[in-house]
């Protein structure tokens, strides 16, 4: 059922020119964007930013309401969608790379990447590996050598538990150094801000944060950034920081932000939403609005994005087994 509808949507896509949208028989009615978190967080911003620009640009003929549905970092929302609104054409839900990790680690109950329809991404932030100004580590290889000498000797801290996004970033570095990530001395903090405070205070040595949240401290040269975990160098203040790839370590960590719809969203509605996100990405006003939220360009929608989301989740599932976060099956 699911597979068939994805194919149908994909074949419909090339013909969905803007003017044809309503001709295809779908106009959203009282559409809603669910932010599976309290106001103020990343999910909330994803919804509010997108819905505001969709309306300002006229891509959506009607305003889209943002509804906050916190609980279990998205678990409550995906359950709600699957239990009560399986075929609702008027609802989309914000997600991030963290949602893929949660699906991969079975944290969303029985629901996984095949229980939603992936609509598209609106942008991405990228992981960075930070150390304090006076740290002995000057590049990624230094840190990996440190891990090789004593993987438990370098205190690493960030927001989120073992298995979370921030943990995984630095776990990949430890693994690339041939070490067992579970032996890392990892200290979870409540939010990236607290972890940054611990780094500046010298309580931890490494902080695997996000590019958008560390700009201020980097500009003031309070911290050094060993690597950005992006395919190419990032524009702006961080342009002089090399990627992990440049340093011979094949690690990328995009924090993708975007939307999914209910598992049985009708094809006409799915096509409309995919097309709306595509037109949003192409709109001349979009880049500035997106950049203001600390998001870099990451344009992918529809079938291509659906395949990407599923591949990523599978990859994370394998990683979680490899490093022993979930038992191998």
């Amino acid at each position: 059922m699911q597979r068939r509808s994805v194919i149908a949507a994909a074949t419909a896509l090339p013909f969905s020119a803007p003017g044809l949208v309503s001709a295809q028989g779908f106009t959203p009615q009282n559409p809603e964007c669910i932010a599976p978190a309290a106001p103020g967080g990343g999910f909330d911003i994803t919804c509010r930013l997108t819905t505001r620009v969709l309306q300002e640009t006229g891509i959506s003929p009607v305003p889209i309401r943002t509804q906050n549905m916190p609980g279990g970092i998205g678990a409550v929302a995906i359950n709600n969608i699957n239990a009560q609104r399986r075929s609702d054409p008027n609802v989309i839900v914000a997600f991030s790379t963290g949602s893929w990790l949660n699906m991969a680690q079975g944290r969303f109950g029985r629901f996984g990447e095949n229980d939603v329809r992936w609509i598209g991404a609106i942008g991405a932030d990228y992981g960075v590996i930070c150390v304090k100004r006076d740290s002995p580590f000057n590049n990624l290889q230094d840190l990996m050598n440190g891990f090789r000498q004593n993987v438990a000797g370098i205190p690493v801290g960030s927001s989120g538990a073992v298995g979370s996004q921030d943990w995984t970033k630095v776990a990949l570095v430890a693994r690339a150094a041939g070490q067992d990530p579970r032996r890392m001395r990892y200290v979870p903090f409540e939010g990236g801000g607290a972890a940054m405070a611990a780094l500046l205070g010298g309580h931890i040595q490494v902080f695997p944060g996000d590019a958008s949240e560390i700009r201020g401290q980097y500009e003031a040269r309070e911290i050094k950034i060993l690597a950005v975990l992006s395919p190419n160098r990032l524009p702006g203040v961080l342009a002089d920081v090399p990627t992990a790839k440049e340093q011979g370590v094949n690690i990328e960590w995009p924090i993708v932000r975007g939307f999914y719809g209910p598992p049985q969203m009708p094809d006409a509605a799915y096509t409309w939403w995919v097309d709306a996100i595509r037109r949003l990405q192409a709109h001349p006003n979009w880049a500035e609005q997106r950049n203001a939220q600390g998001l870099f360009e990451f344009n992918m929608v529809g079938e291509e994005f659906s395949a990407f989301a599923k591949a990523r989740t599978a990859e994370y599932r394998q990683l979680a087994r490899d490093v022993g976060i979930v038992p191998a099956q």
Binding site: Q67, P70, G71, G216, A292, G294
Partner: protein, 496 residues
């Protein structure tokens, strides 16, 4: 010094434009209202107001003046329902119920409102002064505070729990432990393992503070009122005799101490206004052991926590402005507001955007004067709230409480939870089990566990790391002293 003053002067040039004064006023009114309403906190309000600032194309300094006024204005609101109805509007106003409500019952509700308003003003304004001159060095000291130091600080706060019990210390300790147990529910922050969730998705995120506080205080209080007849109580409570100058002078030393405690705790990222108000109340009670009627309506018991609350709120802005590090959820949203204006929060903010940083600081001097001017004349109006017949007032409060719970989480499950806690709160009242230690145990227990695990993870399990720094040693000495002090007093009494 001169440099700071001229920079502050530049800030006043920004803050004193009619437009920005008006925005500060709007923010103060919204903030006070948000503070009064249970469940709806400054975090939600700021997140919802931010898009309006962008849509109205307010310049960044104006937007920040407005949003920050909502934030520190909320510190003035939480006390009103705490004093009059025994229902704290904000987490940090929980302590205010202890002496505030007995005062209201004795017909001194108006005086309690006045002294807490003045305390809020004193705490906030002195803290803004401290922030003006010592922001950067303070922030540097704050980040040096290690997880082990936090453990000692929280242990110290917990050691004072016995003091908030009123009647019986064992009951207070038991209630505190119950609160700590509640804090353990949810996904474990260190390993991601689910604890005590009984497989329920709604419990994954743990129990929300709003749900617990509204259940125990608001719903529990109303259940008790339904049972005992409502008539007698409501008629007696009232505004009554005004605050006298003598009482104000009597409270001044308590306010000064509370400002110090509140500001220092507030500057530490990761402590917060609840810890500050709890510490200052219990410290005041311990200092004045034997003289005073804490728990039965002591003015200082109202002044201290409210002063500390507002001082801590301002302190929280110090690491945000000088290092770009949020000290709480609300300051994180304020930082997000800067990002939306393409301003990078960080150590260079004062150099790159002086009009924003200094404009905000100057506006806080203005805003707190506005808040005092708003709040004092309204004392009579608020106090008259209680002349509304109970049959109208309490159903209204109940509706607002449920609206607050639902607004905080959009979850029907949380509504049920709040009723469960309401029934518990009613039972606890009947058994004379104090509620404040439950709430404090809940807040402090979570912080204690997180920091203890951080400290032990950093030291690779060596317990000795907990007593390595001078700060932590000093706090442990105070903790032991606080635990032994009642024993010492009892011993002396026994000999006399």
């Amino acid at each position: 010094m001169m440099e700071t003053l001229s920079a502050l002067g530049g800030g006043f040039a920004v803050a004193l434009t009619p437009f920005n004064i008006m925005l500060a006023l709007v923010g103060c009114i919204v903030g006070t209202a948000i503070g009064v309403l249970p469940g709806i906190g400054p975090l939600n309000a700021i997140a919802l107001l931010l898009p309006f600032c962008l849509a109205l194309r307010l310049p960044p300094e104006s937007a920040l003046i407005l949003l920050a006024a909502v934030y520190y204005g909320s510190g003035y609101g939480g006390r009103i329902t705490a004093i009059l109805l025994n229902m704290p509007g904000e987490p940090s106003a929980v302590l205010t119920t202890l002496d505030g409500h007995p005062l209201a019952k004795q017909g001194r509700g108006g005086a309690a409102l006045a002294i807490s308003g003045i305390g809020s003003f004193v705490g906030a304004t002195l803290s803004v002064v401290a922030m003006t001159f010592m922001s950067v060095p303070l922030a540097k000291i704050a980040v040096a505070f290690s997880p082990a130091d936090y453990v000692a600080l929280i242990a110290f706060a917990l050691s004072l729990l016995g003091a908030v019990g009123g009647v019986s210390a064992p009951k207070a300790w038991g209630a505190g432990c119950f609160g700590i147990m509640l804090a353990l529910i949810g996904v474990d922050s260190g390993t991601g393992v689910e604890r005590f969730t009984f497989g329920s998705l709604e419990m994954l995120g743990g129990i929300d503070f709003t749900v617990l506080a509204i259940g125990l205080f608001a719903i529990g209080e109303i259940l008790l009122l339904v049972e005992t007849t409502m008539r007698a109580e409501a008629a007696k409570i009232g505004g009554g005799q005004r605050l006298t100058a003598k009482e104000l002078v009597f409270c001044l030393p308590a306010m000064m101490r509370a400002t110090g405690i509140g500001f220092v705790i507030g500057v530490l990222p990761g402590a917060g206004a609840s810890v500050a108000s709890a510490l200052s109340y219990t410290a005041e009670k311990r200092i004045n052991e034997g003289n005073g009627k804490f728990g039965q309506g002591d003015m200082r018991g109202v002044a201290a926590p409210e002063t500390a609350d507002n001082a801590a709120q301002i302190g929280n802005l110090v690491p945000m402005l000088s290092l770009g590090i949020p000290g709480s959820g609300t300051t994180a949203v304020l930082l997000g507001a800067l990002l939306m204006y393409n301003i990078t929060p960080g150590p260079l903010l004062f150099e790159q955007k002086p009009e924003v940083a200094w404009g905000l600081i100057a506006s806080m001097y203005v805003g707190n004067v506005l808040l005092l001017a708003l709040n004092l004349p309204l004392v009579g109006v608020f106090a008259r709230l209680l002349s509304v017949p109970a049959s109208v007032l309490y159903p209204g409060v109940l509706a607002l409480s449920f609206a607050g719970v639902y607004a905080a989480s959009n979850s029907a499950f949380d509504l049920i939870m709040s009723v469960v806690f309401g029934v518990l709160g009613w039972l606890f009242r009947k058994m004379d089990i104090p509620l404040v230690p439950i709430v404090l145990g809940f807040v402090l227990g979570r912080m204690l566990e997180d920091n203890l695990r951080r400290a032990l993870a950093l030291s690779d399990g060596a317990v000795s790391a907990l007593v390595e720094s001078p700060v932590s040693i000093g706090l442990w000495v105070l903790t032991v002293g606080a635990l032994l002090w009642p024993l010492f007093l009892a011993f002396r009494k026994g000999r006399a």
